[in-house]
Symmetry: C2
Subunit: 84 residues, 2 copies
């Protein structure tokens, strides 16, 4: 579960993925899979929550990290790449 | 404090306000003021959290509401208008 507290020294990433409505659920499943199997075990990861837009055309990821350096280290890790 | 739980029947609004970096703190203050003095007492309001972009050019509001109807009723209420 994600908690948002005022004045926490947390870095938040809000990424919007544009999708075809028929793929929205599948994109949520893929992002959940890569988070649960890989990203959540990365140093610096705090939380991740996915949001489905009511019109079906977007999936918005709200992710909290301890720092930009630790986030960047995850992005440079090739292990989650097969999901993308 | 905002809590994000999977499968909660909650409507989330993510609004991005583009600002001049020298105004970012002031926009956060104004949005906090209108939320604390007015919006948070509106039926259907659950939570609101503000995020400052690291480059100073955006303020992102993450707001949770119980339903679109209750959110729309708040938007139709003229009382918070002087803040905008």
């Amino acid at each position: 579960m994600t908690q948002i507290k005022a004045n926490d020294p947390i870095l938040t990433f809000i990424n919007v993925f544009k999708v075809e409505p028929e793929n929205q659920e599948r994109v949520v499943e893929l992002l959940t899979q890569v988070t649960e199997s890989s990203v959540k075990f990365t140093p610096g990861f705090i939380s991740c929550a996915l949001h489905k837009s009511t019109d079906g055309t977007k999936v918005t990821m709200y992710a909290q990290w301890q720092s930009l350096e630790l986030y960047q280290a995850m992005r440079d890790d090739p292990r989650p790449l097969p999901f993308f």
